[in-house]
Amino acid sequence: MTDTSRFGPATLGLHAGQSPDAEFGSRATPIHFTTSYVFPDCDTAAARFDLARTGHVYSRISNPTNAVLEERIAALEGGVGAIAVASGQAALHLAITTLMGAGGHVVASRALYGGSHNLLTYTLPRFGITTSFVDPADPAAWRAALRPETRLLFGETLGNPGLDVLDIPTVATIAHDAGLPLLVDSTLSSPALLRPIEHGADLVMHSATKFLGGHGVAVGGLLIDGGTFDWQASGRFPTLTEPYEGFHDMVFADESPVAAFLLRARREGLRDFGACLSPMNAFQILQGIETLSLRMARHVANARTVAEHLAAHEGVVSVAYPGLPGHRDHALAARLMPQGCGSVMSFELDGGRQAGRAFIEALRLFSHLANVGDAKSLVIHPASTTHFRMSAEELARAGIGEGTVRLSVGLEDPADLLADLDRGLAAAARAAGRTA
């Protein structure tokens, strides 16, 4: 069972949010490929627009297939609800723009996915929202970065690609002491390994493209509201506690103290920014979530095998995987993620950029691409791809070297993965002028 359900995560992953439909009894979730919904009468139409009756109006705002996905991930995370969006980036954007406008400020871990870093560093400042980046392991740095205009603290459960583990209880306490919410990107851990809300996070986001889907066929994002943050007591969120002229003068926190964030995010963010998820993608992500618990256990087992193999190899300078005893956050990972800390890791090859290129090009099973969390094993060289916009100094601050290689360990037979890595390591050694 979880903190919010008597059912366990595997059961919720299969059942939460769906009941066989009344007309046909479909056991699988139907794909509601429709833009809009016929109103039975004018009165019902008006009531749905006014949030006086339940039901769907238009698929940019909500869709029955997407609703199953939203309720399923909310059940897995222990949230009061969720919103499915077009990508993980859309989820982050929706969270931020629901909470603040121009003049707002975010304090974020500096160990972030490159896309999030881009949004916070380059794009949002054009709209007046700025971010201070801090060492996620330094509580004093989080506190020192807070300003009167700060509206959100943000970090990743496992900082991509350095694999820093976010001390969620500590950062949540810092946030709450300041009357602010904590948003956690839980993409690399998934609710099968870590449920941030149970540790104090208020909002959780996912790139559902990764482990939740697992198959690598659908891009999508999810934003979950824990329903735990008291917007009225904070007094810093007029978007939720004052009348919104754009929606019947609704005071979202009065309408629903526990789901105010979701109401505003859907009625404004989805309505106006429009980054909705296709119901086909929602269906595909749901198929992935059905096996999430099983897959994550296998991902973790394979990742441990790979990490230990790499750590023992003479051609590898270091391995960043919190499951290894030598990682800075090993003890924290064991506390927050006792079932394992995912299957993404990075390591530094002896031989720098040349060795990195030779390694990647020699691999046959690991696919060289810009994604993680696929059932298939993946590899990438961050300095030349996901983080190429960052300066050498910024790269170093994020814990990335020129020879850093990131792996997302998949579900293949572990012996085959080790053989492939050994092939790459031999090529790297030759490129570096060493004898393999």
Binding site: S5, L12, R53, V80, G81, D254, P257
Partner: protein, 263 residues
């Protein structure tokens, strides 16, 4: 009182028309009513859904008895200049509405009892948990409040999980509030006498799968209310638990509107 009581008016503070007052239950606040309240507020009714003392945004300690809460409610309506109102209450709120209707006589023109039972004994284990282990009490309430389908299946509001919302709403109330509420429900013994004094039209809405206030326990209340059977309507919602507003809000709205428009 006006300085300490928060009243939700469903977005229509200036609405005129017959007054409908929604009274929430134990450990809850006004927000449990937002869907039917919004609908009625846009269909010719003046809607008020107060937070009881100590609940939601209303200040003060929780009141110790159903009788005291009924007196508080009637005083609130008087302060608002309301001479006649229909009262709709859920669970503990249904006891408050019933007691208020008995106290107020003709000033209450209609009485809707939703998820009700008279008397309303509360399991000692739940009362103890509300005092000693709130999370355990909230889990017990959820287990008994939602139908099996609502505990894991599709929710009424797309993208929202009513059971988790219920946990969070109860967790927001101050320490001791739920315990006081449950003690008040358990101690209220005047319900059948109050029912015998009610003369206005009465609606009882019950969930077929309600484990908190099971429909099978409605007999004595029905007997007390049904001296004029034409004034009593009982409506059972199939596959619905005790959390009627969360599980079947539209069906509840339809039932309320149909009943209220009949007088």
């Amino acid at each position: 009182m006006s300085g300490t009581a928060h009243i939700y008016r469903a977005g229509r503070p200036d609405a005129e028309g017959p007054v409908v007052v929604f009274v929430h239950g134990a450990g809850h606040d006004h927000s449990v009513w937002n869907l039917p309240a919004r609908y009625l507020a846009r269909h010719g009714y003046r809607v008020l859904a107060p937070d009881l003392p100590g609940h939601g945004q209303s200040a003060g300690p929780p009141l110790p008895s159903v009788e005291a809460m009924a007196r508080w409610l009637l005083a609130l309506l008087a302060e608002q200049g309301i001479a006649q109102a229909t009262l709709a209450g859920h669970s503990m709120g249904s006891l408050i509405a019933l007691e208020a209707a008995a106290q107020a006589g003709a000033a209450v023109e209609g009485l809707a009892l939703i998820g009700t039972g008279v008397p309303m004994p509360v399991a000692p284990a739940l009362i103890d948990a509300a005092r000693d282990n709130r999370a355990k009490a909230h889990a017990m309430i959820n287990q008994w409040s939602f139908s099996p389908g609502a505990l894991i299946g599709r929710g009424a509001v797309p993208g929202q999980l009513a059971p988790v919302g219920n946990l969070r709403l109860m967790a927001r109330q101050a320490e001791g509030v739920l315990h006081a509420d449950l003690l008040a429900c358990d101690a209220y013994q005047g319900g059948l006498e109050a029912a015998a004094r009610v003369t206005c039209p009465v609606l009882i809405v019950c969930g077929q799968r309600d484990q908190m206030t099971p429909p099978r326990n409605l007999g004595s209340l029905g007997d007390a209310l049904s001296r004029d059977a034409s004034r009593l309507m009982i409506h059972t919602l199939d596959a619905c638990g005790h959390a009627i507003m969360a599980e079947q809000p539209d069906a509840l709205t339809d039932t309320l509107v149909h009943w209220r428009s009949s007088f």
